[in-house]
């Protein structure tokens, strides 16, 4: 399987598999980038309602196409149908949230479940139609690349590329609206139409991704990459493209992996790879990651213990805390028998002096900018100038001698 996976990654697993992988990569990129705006507007789950609302459209489009004499499986027709009901679902969510006292989450849940339920009713009707048995519309629930035609792959790839281009063209107004609609209005941006464009993009990505990822999981591609990207940067412009890249990687490797062995459904694999990237970022991202937070916390803890230990030495108090003893011993400030070394005494004197200076400083400088900096860790030399410290020292008198007690 590793060989097959590598072959698929290098686009050597056959023409269709290669097309699917490229299409999935583009789709993932488009989804990640356009999902960023939703995430920033805190409306990530609206896309879930949109995705579920595509199902009745698929069913109706199939019936209409059969009624017109076609075989009903034309992907473009099905996608157009799904886009129409997705649009209706979106409008309903906004209408319910704005016009009634129900909150947006209730509106999302209502639209999602009712449209999906109605879609299932339509699917059961289609199954009883003469042409319906082979329709394979269930494939839209979880996506299926198995019976995918060349044309379908092209549609996905072109659609994904168009969505990426739209994100690129409108990234600035969309960012502005996502952060501060009021400010955007004052700059002359038409917030309403940018909002519509944003939602239109989400809808487009959902519809394009139906065949590949399925309507239940497509929302993952819109939510997970932006959330993941947020761990790596504080700048919106970067979030968009990092989210796009993460989505693209998930889409491409997921599709390749699924082509490399049987019983590996494409949609769930893409989602799980995206989730894997998320977990890795949650843990190991610099700055916002869990590991970074733990390291930060540990460093802080060690500084506190070192400082408190030195103060205890200066006052000639016994130290009992295990961690404090360890910190001091490691730094060569005390001997194993807990007696302070030369260096320990020197440092203790310095810290003790620092503490006394702070005490004076907090009485002398009443303003927050200086006294607020006192946290029991910051050395006063970082806050005040040499002259100011000399001034404080006149209040203090000469340094006192520290006895070497255990």
């Amino acid at each position: 399987m590793p060989d097959a996976f590598l072959a698929a990654l290098m686009l050597q697993a056959g023409y269709n598999a290669a097309l699917v992988a490229i299409g999935a990569g583009l789709l993932g990129f488009a989804a990640g980038a356009s999902g960023t705006f939703l995430f920033l507007r805190k409306r990530a789950l609206v896309s879930d309602a949109v995705a579920h609302a595509t199902l009745p459209g698929v069913g109706i489009a199939f019936m209409v196409m059969v009624w017109l004499g076609g075989d009903g499986r034309n992907l473009v027709g099905l996608l157009v149908g799904s886009a129409i009901t997705a649009g209706i679902g979106l409008v309903l969510v906004e209408w319910i949230a704005r016009r009634t006292r129900l909150a947006e989450d209730a509106a999302i849940g209502a639209v999602l479940s009712v449209f999906f339920g109605f879609g299932i009713v339509l699917l059961t009707i289609i199954q009883t139609m003469p042409r319906g048995r082979q329709a394979g519309l269930e494939g839209f629930l979880l996506g299926s690349t198995a019976g995918m035609l060349f044309v379908d792959a092209i549609i996905i790839a072109v659609g994904g590329a168009l969505a990426v281009a739209t994100v690129y063209l409108f990234r600035r107004p969309m960012t502005l609206v996502a952060f501060d609609p009021g400010f955007a209005t004052s700059l002359g941006v038409n917030v309403r139409s940018i909002d519509l464009l944003m939602m239109g993009l989400v809808m487009a990505v959902t519809v394009i991704g139906l065949k590949l990822v399925g309507l239940i999981l497509i929302v993952a591609l819109l939510i997970i990459p932006p959330v993941t990207a947020r761990f790596w940067t504080e700048r919106t412009a970067h979030v968009i493209w990092i989210a796009g890249a993460l989505g693209g990687i998930a889409g491409y490797t997921g599709a390749a992996l699924s082509a490399s062995a049987p019983n590996l459904p494409t949609g769930p694999l893409i989602v799980l790879i995206a989730f894997g990237l998320f977990v890795a970022s949650l843990m190991f991202a610099p700055g916002r990651g869990v590991a970074a937070a733990i390291i930060r916390h540990r460093r802080f803890q060690l500084r506190v213990h070192r400082r408190q230990g030195l103060l205890a030495l200066a006052r000639g108090e016994q130290i009992f805390d295990g961690l404090t003893l360890k910190v001091l011993r490691r730094a060569g400030l005390i001997r194993p028998d807990r007696v302070a070394t030369e260096a320990g005494i020197a440092q203790a004197a310095k810290v003790s002096r620092d503490e006394s200076r702070w005490e004076i400083a907090r009485q002398v400088y009443r303003d927050e900018a200086i006294s607020g900096r006192y946290d029991g860790l910051t050395s006063i030399e970082e806050v005040l100038t040499q002259d100011e410290i000399a001034e404080l020292d006149r209040h203090l008198g000469p340094p006192s001698i520290i006895a070497r007690t255990p």
Partner: protein, 307 residues
């Protein structure tokens, strides 16, 4: 309305009603707390739970699967909370990350494992199998008094009845603390109520309802019933007592009307096959909500402009 009705339609309708009420009751509070989508998340993560339970035990039997589903729901709630806190991510996005990933895991596991011999697939998980829960040993209304016939009831019926009773009883017993913490959490804290625990217990009860109902009717009804009947009831009244009562009424109407329309509706239009009852019940509950949105007396937001 004779023997055939009792045999084929009575038990599915009853099960549909019970499942709907079990979900609608906690749904009232979830909606008021703006946690309506918890039900959606729970019903997605039930899938990996039952698949894992099946892989562990090797059989499709109810209790291991219920335990697996409940375990998965618990894991999901904990994960959502952990991601929210560790990553400082807004709740909606955290929820979206967790339930899609767990659902994807469930689907992958299902495809990878050999479940062809047993009746376990994603479609079943989504729209359940309400139509198959018939009462074969019945031959008329008098069977309701016949012990041997009653023994042949589908086991889902007593189970759901028990769960629904339990949830109803819990709602009654903890009515005051629930009401207080839902509307004014700070006041609840001032009274010394364990607000965080009540919030968690509510989600746990919702999970129990979702898992029990899911087994019988699939996740569509679960999600729809958590939201639509309480939301419609919310637009009808300003009193919580009335809202809960109305939500139970709406849930019951949805279940009965949905089942009848699914079973007999196509026949009226000249069709021969019934359509999905689960889907139809969700649709009817949506129609009720739509009517409430358009005409209910308390539909408008306070201070909102408009008619």
């Amino acid at each position: 309305m004779g023997a055939e009705f009792v045999q084929l339609s009575l038990t599915p309708i009853l099960i549909g009603i019970l499942a709907s009420i079990a979900c609608a009751l906690p749904g009232n509070f979830l909606i008021l707390r703006k946690q309506a989508l918890i039900g959606d998340a729970i019903s997605h993560v039930v899938l990996p739970g039952i698949v894992v339970a099946f892989l562990v035990t090797g059989v499709v039997s109810t209790w291991p699967m219920m335990i697996g589903a409940a375990g998965a729901a618990l894991i999901a709630v904990v994960l959502i909370e952990a991601i929210k806190r560790l990553g400082k991510i807004e709740p909606g996005a955290a929820m979206g990350v967790v339930f899609t990933a767990l659902f994807a895991f469930g689907v992958l596991l299902l495809e990878q494992s050999d479940t062809r011999q047993v009746h376990l697939d994603v479609e079943h998980a989504l729209y359940g199998n309400l139509e198959s829960l018939i009462w074969l040993s019945a031959d008329g209304w008098h069977s309701l008094l016949d012990a041997t016939a009653l023994a042949g009831l589908p086991p889902e019926l007593p189970r759901l009845a028990g769960v629904t009773l339990l949830i109803g009883a819990l709602t009654l017993i903890f009515w005051r603390p629930l009401k207080i913490t839902t509307f004014d959490e700070a006041f609840g804290q001032a009274l010394g109520l364990p607000t965080a625990f009540i919030g968690f217990a509510l989600v746990a009860v919702a999970a129990v309802a979702a898992v029990a109902a899911f087994d019988a009717v699939g996740s569509i009804i679960v999600i729809a019933m958590f939201i639509c009947p309480p939301a419609a009831a919310r637009l009808m009244t300003n009193r919580l007592e009335v809202q809960v009562a109305l939500s139970v009424l709406f849930a019951t109407i949805s279940a009965i009307l949905g089942y009848v329309l699914a079973g007999y509706g196509p026949l009226w239009f000249g069709g021969v096959h019934a359509v999905s009852a689960a889907g139809m019940i969700a649709t009817v509950s949506g129609i009720i909500l739509a009517l409430a949105c358009l005409f209910a007396p308390h539909r408008a937001r306070i201070g909102a402009t408009g008619p």
